[in-house]
């Protein structure tokens, strides 16, 4: 139905454009050079005033229709039907009503549900048609009003451009709204979590066992939400990744900037871009299929017992993923060093190695550090590799051949297949998400600040 509504809006906007343009043409015919705007702008003015408000209306309608009907349904149920007013029970009843309304019957629904389902079907139909009618009324009203404002001296172009500017400002606000949405949703759910589990226990507790009972009759652990083992696991894997990626990345950049000729550069650059462009789920599969067994066999050949999902395998593969990141940022930093410094050093008789290590690297160090920090934030936030290759159980260890878990792994395992928003188990994922967001945000801000400051120095 929404599709028809959008189609209707588009058709009416086009119709509005032609109405406006033909009016503009008539003005030109009668008043000639006194007309302020070109006929096309008269058309565009009508079209945006027909289209934009109706479009906004449909979007609002689509977003609000569901929650409003749900609330109406719940209030239509007899008082006391929802004996426990918990979120899961409400969601269950609502989905039962909708299933019954759609004709999918599982067992015999109760009288109340049957009645509510009937109401639901009726309201849905009403809402659908009401939307179309409302859209039609709004567009026609807008068409009439906009048309009546057209006149030879009417500033249609300025008006149209003002609307376009408004739309552009709105679009640039989406980025802000997204950030606010992220922060608000994380804070809101994390707040719920910290009502159940105290903040200090979460941040400093040493035991993480989130698999608690969702229903009274389930057998499960008591639950412990001390996130320290999760944090150390994340840091361990990110640290291994950085150990793999930093030297390879920086030496690659040094070679490309200082030693390589154009041909080498033009072959290595695409390879690095290819490494950067491979989806992380592919790296995850690579870790499981190739790297983890290889590390395990090497370990057993040397007499070390390596866990099947060792931190080493996940970290090493994550390192591969990060190499192009570090190399390209270091490359930029090295290239930004003023040529005069490099040439001066070479002219004094220094070898290229001496120039790079004693002149260019110190000058480029802030930029490289910024790149390393950005890569670190990337490693901490990386999900698919660790979900596939790292462990699920939080152990407090720094042994790289042990299995550890990470923040992102825990978020995914806690949220897959279960969205009960009133259990600490689910909410814990949002608390972890909040920590992840804050940490990566700080790393990014510091890194971007360093990179920018350093750039200004040489400009």
């Amino acid at each position: 139905m929404a599709g028809y509504a959008f189609l209707l809006i588009i058709i009416l906007s086009i119709a509005g454009y032609y109405v406006g343009r033909s009016a503009g043409n008539r003005f030109v015919a009668s008043d000639g050079r006194d007309v302020h705007s070109l006929p096309g702008y008269h058309g565009a003015f009508v079209a945006v005033w027909v289209g934009v408000p109706a479009f906004v209306l449909v979007l609002l309608w689509l977003f609000l229709q569901g929650p409003i009907i749900d609330n109406l349904l719940l209030s239509s149920l007899p008082a006391g039907y929802l004996e426990t007013d918990s979120g899961s029970r409400v969601a269950l009843v609502l989905s039962e009503i909708k299933n019954v309304a759609a004709g999918r019957l599982f067992g015999e629904p109760s009288e109340e549900v049957r009645y509510a389902a009937e109401l639901y079907g009726r309201w849905e139909a009403i809402a659908r048609w009401a939307m179309i009618v409302a859209v039609l009324a709004l567009t026609i009203l807008a068409l009439i009003v906009a048309r009546s404002r057209l006149a030879p001296r009417f500033r249609a172009r300025n008006n149209f451009e003002r609307v376009i500017s408004g739309l552009m400002i709105f679009c640039s606000l989406i980025a802000i709204v997204t950030t606010v949405g992220i922060i608000a949703s994380l804070l809101f759910e994390a707040w719920e979590f910290f009502k159940r589990v105290p903040l200090h226990e979460f941040l400093f507790g040493l035991s993480w066992e989130p698999q608690i009972a969702l229903r009274a009759d389930q057998v499960a652990g008591k639950g412990a939400f001390g996130a320290i083992p999760v944090f150390t696991g994340t840091l361990l894997i990110a640290f291994i990744a950085m150990i793999v990626a930093t030297p390879i990345g920086i030496y690659t950049a040094i070679y490309l900037v200082e030693y390589a000729n154009d041909r080498v550069r033009s072959t290595v650059k695409p390879v690095m871009e290819l490494l950067a462009g491979i989806p992380t789920v592919v790296y995850g599969f690579f870790a499981v299929l190739t790297v983890a067994p290889a590390i395990r066999e090497t370990g057993s050949a040397m007499g070390i017992a390596v866990s099947p999902n060792s931190a080493l395998a996940a970290g090493a593969v994550m390192g591969i993923m990060i190499i192009p990141f570090i190399s390209s940022l270091s490359d930029d930093a090295l290239k930004a060093v003023p040529r005069a410094m490099r040439d001066g050093s070479l002219a004094l008789g220094a070898t290229r190695a001496e120039t790079v290590i004693k002149v260019m690297l110190p000058a480029a160090l802030p930029g490289i550090m910024g790149g390393v920090l950005l890569a670190m934030s990337r490693a901490i936030g990386e999900t698919m590799i660790v979900v596939m290759a790292a462990g699920l159980i939080a152990t407090l260890t720094f042994n790289p051949v042990d299995s550890v878990t990470t923040v992102t792994v825990q978020i995914v395992t806690l949220l897959i297949g279960d969205t009960e928003f009133d259990s600490p188990k689910t909410l814990a994922a949002f608390a972890l998400g909040l920590v992840l967001f804050v940490v990566t945000l700080c790393l990014n801000i510091v890194a971007l600040r360093i990179v920018q400051k350093y750039r200004e120095q040489y400009e």
Binding site: C171, Y259, M384, N444
Partner: protein, 430 residues
């Protein structure tokens, strides 16, 4: 360098042995650094090579599928001509194999014989009969996929020499299979099912159709939202916005948003789109919306760079001719910047296509056996399908996963190829 090095004696003997040794040492250090650099690059290229080789080495096997051609007698006793969809097709399958191997009479052996063909054989025969009821009472040759262990056997993954109790199939079953092969009934054609089937619990039947369609829908939504919004935001920030605290804040915000971990966008989608607005789980619409929020910063940054690259003389010329600022941007600057914008958009969409983490959180990793019919139907996407298959225990799914990755990489290469083509063909340097 220490001060001692700088205050050289007036007469320094450059040809002395010590100086020569020093020079040698310095040049050696230079060579060492060069070789470390070459080694680093070789390691990076080698790792990429290993990655691609393992994928191709395991994935190529899933592009062919072992099939067996058997004569199926559609016995009218089992199938009612008036309602062919409700026949006893299980019995037809049993008879088919029984006719081929009349010596197998023991029920246990018969059951083991039945494991030769894919589990869904009866439904395939049913579909064939429903499509063409005239074959009832006749014998038709049907080419059916064999079940996964036999597929692996034929492809040489499963070794015949391995001890019988360590494989899924016993020697008698291998004997029957070899008999079929000797009769020339076994073939290994291209596996179109990989692209045109939907997901299945059975590796020999599982395909990517649902995931490809789901990814297509999600990318379409992502494009429809992020492309116009991204361009509009970039044009405003680059061409119209006054330089003040607010626009600075928006800029910093966009740069930071581009570096937020993708899983956080998944959390946002879960909390806002699913929980607050009540949109359906696993829907490509929600997936596309989440991906568009991730792609938006990329598109804005790229568009701004392309707008910056258009020389100011174009704008000044337009303004000098009496055009309004909007007219200059819309008629002159944007068309000139469009190739760069398109290139950046395609690269952003390619990133979105490979993104799995946020889709996991909004439930696009469900087991769904038919392609989605619309934006609100439950569906998977290519990267989440890879994740699901990588988690499946059957041996056949290892090959399928690699093959699915190759398909995904194929799409990515096509998209990036288009981007490179656009950049080379259309982009102007001033």
């Amino acid at each position: 360098m220490s001060t001692a090095d700088i205050s050289l004696p007036v007469k320094f003997d450059w040809s002395s042995e010590a100086a020569a040794a020093r020079r040698k040492r310095r040049h050696f250090a230079d060579h060492r650094l060069r070789w470390i650099g070459i080694t680093a690059i070789m390691i990076a290229i080698g790792l990429l090579g290993i990655l691609l080789t393992t994928l191709v080495a395991t994935g190529y096997r899933a592009f062919v599928q072992t099939m067996v051609t058997v004569p199926v007698y559609v016995n009218p006793e089992y199938v009612d001509e008036t309602d062919p969809s409700k026949g006893n097709y299980r019995a037809i399958v049993k008879d088919t194999l029984g006719n081929l191997f009349p010596e197998v009479t023991n029920p246990r052996d018969q059951r083991e014989l039945g494991q030769l063909l894919t589990n869904n054989t009866q439904f395939m025969i049913r579909d064939r009969v429903v499509a063409d009821p005239s074959i009832i009472g006749k014998t038709v040759e049907m080419t059916l996929p064999v079940s996964d262990p036999f597929d692996q056997l034929e492809k040489g993954v499963l070794s015949r020499e391995s001890p019988e109790d360590q494989r899924k199939i016993n020697n008698a079953q291998i004997g029957w299979f070899d008999q079929l092969a000797a009769e020339g009934r076994v073939s290994m054609p291209l596996n179109w099912g990989l692209l045109f089937n939907s997901d299945s619990r059975f590796p020999e039947l599982a395909g990517l159709a649902g995931a490809i369609v789901g990814s297509f829908y999600a990318l379409m939504v992502c494009f429809l939202i992020s492309f116009p919004c991204g361009i509009a935001a970039a044009v405003y920030l680059e061409e119209f916005a006054p330089k003040n605290k607010w626009t600075d804040m928006i800029e910093v915000n966009i740069n930071n948003l581009a570096a937020v971990p993708s899983i956080v966008f998944g959390l946002l989608g879960l909390a806002v789109f699913l929980n607050f607005f009540g949109l359906p789980r696993s829907a490509p619409l929600v997936g596309g919306m989440v991906l568009s929020l991730m792609t938006l910063p990329t598109i804005i940054i790229v568009t701004r760079a392309s707008l910056k690259a258009v020389p100011p003389s174009i704008r000044e010329g337009g303004l000098g001719m009496g055009a309004s600022r909007h007219q200059v941007i819309l008629h002159h600057v944007l068309p000139l910047a469009l190739p760069g914008i398109l290139t950046g958009t395609i690269i952003g969409l390619a990133q979105a296509l490979g993104e799995a983490a946020p889709l996991l959180l909004i439930g696009m990793n469900a087991f769904i056996t038919s392609p989605p019919g619309g934006l609100l139907d439950a569906s998977t996407a290519l990267p989440t399908q890879i994740f699901i298959w990588a988690d499946s225990p059957e041996r056949g799914f290892v090959d399928r996963t690699s093959a699915a990755i190759l398909v995904l990489l194929g799409f990515l290469i096509i998209m990036n190829g288009i981007a490179i083509f656009l950049r080379q063909r259309l982009e102007r340097t001033w």
